[in-house]
């Protein structure tokens, strides 16, 4: 296949692939690379006054150590929330995708449509809707109280003193809800590609349902889980909307800090350093994750 492509490319002239690439490359250079370099520069600069955007580039690595010591716990909290939300997304999303792919039958497209429907309203509106639904006097807690489950939820730490909003579970719940479709869709795609004959073959070879799932279906769907995890974990780690609306002052995520540092405190150098640390940690995490799970099949 690769050879064929090479041949064709040569016939049409070597510039074609570059020509095709150039819009993307120019776009990325202008709107990703240049801003990224600016960010690196600002993160290593000193800001003379917080009222002016004058930076002198001084290799100020102290910016990094400062924000790490100041906001280290918030970094951990963000990755913790995003990690739990991702696991919950897999736990909820995998069975959903499995059901749609293998049991959906003629309703498959309808079911997939239902997964995507919430995307027709804005992210912000969906999150703010949760504020009403989960409010202290809102329908969800009304139901919980009617079922006399409020004591139990308090007991296991889901609610705090009978409230759900302004708790960590509200933020994690919001993240899970908002990113669930990003998990379901890629898993669905990878499950849907599986040749049912392979599963049948496993069963013919005396594998039980659980074993054939573990040995055949699950490994073949891992690329979907991998893609879904990236699509969920990365944006969830940097998210600030859920913490802003559903969390309290003890549930701040790193995205809120970046927003605060850039747009309220005018501390550009700190904000840039935090953003880059976040980027580096996520990239490193993804590389490790890719190494462990393997990406050859990831398409």
């Amino acid at each position: 296949m690769a050879k064929e492509t090479d041949d064709r490319t040569q016939r049409r002239g070597g510039w074609v692939p570059y020509g095709l690439l150039s819009p993307g490359v120019v776009w990325l250079a202008l709107f990703f690379l240049v801003p990224l370099l600016t960010l690196v520069r600002v993160s290593l600069s000193t800001q003379e006054s917080r009222f002016e955007q004058k930076f002198s580039f001084t290799w100020e690595f102290k910016n990094y150590s400062d924000v790490l010591s100041e906001f280290g716990d918030i970094f951990l909290r963000s990755f913790g929330y995003a990690g739990i939300a991702t696991v919950l997304c897999i736990a909820i999303g995998y069975p959903m995708a499995y059901f749609i792919a293998f049991r959906g039958g003629r309703y498959r497209n309808l079911l997939l449509g239902l997964v995507v429907v919430p995307f027709f309203t804005s992210y912000l509106v969906r999150t703010i809707a949760w504020v009403s639904i989960m409010g202290d006097e809102g329908p969800f807690l009304d139901l919980i109280r009617a079922l006399a489950l409020d004591g139990a939820l308090d007991g296991i730490g889901i609610t705090d003193n009978g409230r759900l909003l302004a708790t960590e579970w509200a933020v994690i719940g919001g993240l899970t809800y908002n990113f669930l479709p990003f998990m379901v869709l890629p898993i669905y795609v990878s499950l849907e590609k599986i040749d049912v004959a392979l599963v049948e073959a496993a069963k013919d070879l005396y594998s039980g349902a659980a074993r054939s799932f573990r040995k055949v279906t699950l490994p073949m769907s891992l690329p979907g889980v991998f893609a879904g995890t990236l699509l969920t974990f990365i944006p969830a780690s940097g998210d600030f909307i859920n913490a802003e609306f559903l969390g309290g002052p003890k549930n701040t995520m790193i995205g809120n800090v970046v927003q605060q540092q850039f747009l309220v405190q005018n501390r550009y150098t700190s904000a840039a350093a935090i953003s880059l640390i976040l980027m580096v940690i996520i990239t490193a995490g993804v590389l490790v994750y890719a190494k462990v799970l393997g990406t050859e099949d990831l398409t």
């Binding site: 913490a243 309290g248 605060q260």
Partner: protein, 380 residues
């Protein structure tokens, strides 16, 4: 945490939106953001016959805006983009710090921020000589601490900071700042993100004079707020959206601004606003003219219009805060509809009212210490 959807925004009931619609396409366009502002301002741009004002939500009634345009022939672009002093500052800072002009001819910011802008030299002297009605400024706001010469700023409205609470939910009358720290209300208490207001009240409870407070003296009050966050007493730091939480029953009590609760109480009679026994806070928002403003004549016309007692009374009746214009109380008394407002202790606090301003003389270095400590507490 829910930040900066702040003061006077979202006064519930969609009134802001309704107001914007009624004010017509100019203001709607103006609400949309920078690009739209340009488009709207462009109608009379540079000709001296237009005026662009950036202010807070629900701070001007539509009738006054229309009347101003009618009487002066000046096309008014009035936006409500100011939701938070610091956030607005961050939007104008890039232009003003590099000597460029901003879209607004006038912006309305709180006294401490006015001081910063005056000190930075980012605002021009107002054309006070062309504002004959400026003589109506109440005595207490002549040459205020943030602008000792009185040349750079003209107050828009003042307000009080106290406690708003839901009588039914609290089960009793709340009279004290200490009630905000009552474990009975754990997780049901809101504080304002605006440090001067929230910290100010706690300082008063601690018996520290907020007008002269130093960073060191504020230490115990900061610690107290921090502890209340840590043990879950304070549920949330909010801007003006505290009103939503009060109505939804998420807050039993919160630090709040005086004008808002009066409007909310019309629909929710259980809501009350009190100046706590330990005393409350007072603040002023003030009009400023950014450096390089060209529509100076229009600026003078606008200020003169707003300082006319009849117009000022109409605006005061709508916003419910403290008008800085003399004669407003008398004007309100003249009409049956507004006579009750003239007796409102929230709009016209008696001279004995125990309210103090937050230290207006902090230099920027010390202010930064306050800001950083406050940010540390509010962002957990």
């Amino acid at each position: 945490m829910r930040r900066n959807l702040s003061r006077r925004q979202f006064i519930g009931r969609g009134a802001a939106f309704a107001g914007a619609v009624a004010l017509g396409p100019t203001i709607l366009a103006a609400c949309g953001g920078d690009d739209d502002d340009d488009a709207a301002g462009g109608s009379g741009g540079g000709g001296g016959n237009s005026l662009h004002v950036d202010s807070w939500p629900l701070y001007l009634d539509e009738e006054s805006a229309a009347l101003f345009e009618e009487q002066t022939g000046i096309s008014l672009t009035y936006t409500t983009v100011v939701n938070d002093n610091n956030e607005y500052f961050a939007t104008i800072q890039p232009s003003l710090s590099s000597g460029d002009k901003v879209d607004a001819d006038i912006f309305v910011l709180t006294g401490w921020m006015a001081k910063r802008l005056i000190d930075l030299g980012w605002v021009d002297e107002l054309p006070i000589a062309d504002v004959p009605n400026a003589k109506n400024l109440v005595d207490s706001l002549v040459n205020p601490a943030w602008d000792p010469t009185g040349k750079f700023s003209l107050p828009w409205q003042s307000g009080l900071t106290g406690i708003a609470y839901n009588r039914a939910a609290a089960g009793r009358e709340l009279m004290s700042v200490e009630d905000l720290f009552d474990p009975e209300f754990r997780g049901k208490i809101g504080f304002l993100l605006e440090m001067n207001d929230s910290l100010g009240l706690v300082l008063r409870a601690d018996g520290v004079d907020p007008e002269n407070v130093t960073f060191e003296q504020a230490g115990p009050a900061f610690d107290r707020v921090e502890a209340a966050v840590a043990d879950g007493q304070i549920r949330q730091f909010t801007g003006n959206d505290y009103q939503d939480d009060l109505i939804a029953g998420n807050f039993v009590a919160c630090v709040s601004w005086s004008g808002d609760v009066g409007q909310l109480a019309l629909d929710e009679p259980d809501l009350a606003f009190v100046i706590p026994d330990e005393g409350g806070m007072i603040w002023s928002d003030t009009m400023l003219m950014p450096k390089g403003t060209e529509n100076i004549e229009a600026v003078a016309e606008w200020m003169n219009f707003c300082y006319d007692p009849v117009n000022a009374a109409r605006i005061a009746a709508y916003v419910g805060f403290l008008s800085p214009v003399q004669g407003v109380q008398e004007e309100l008394r003249k009409s049956e509809d507004t006579a009750a407002l003239a007796d409102s202790e929230v709009m016209f606090p008696p001279p004995t009212a125990d309210v103090l301003a937050f230290n207006p003389n902090l230099d920027e270095e010390e202010r930064a210490l306050f800001d950083d400590r406050w940010a540390e507490i509010t962002t957990g």
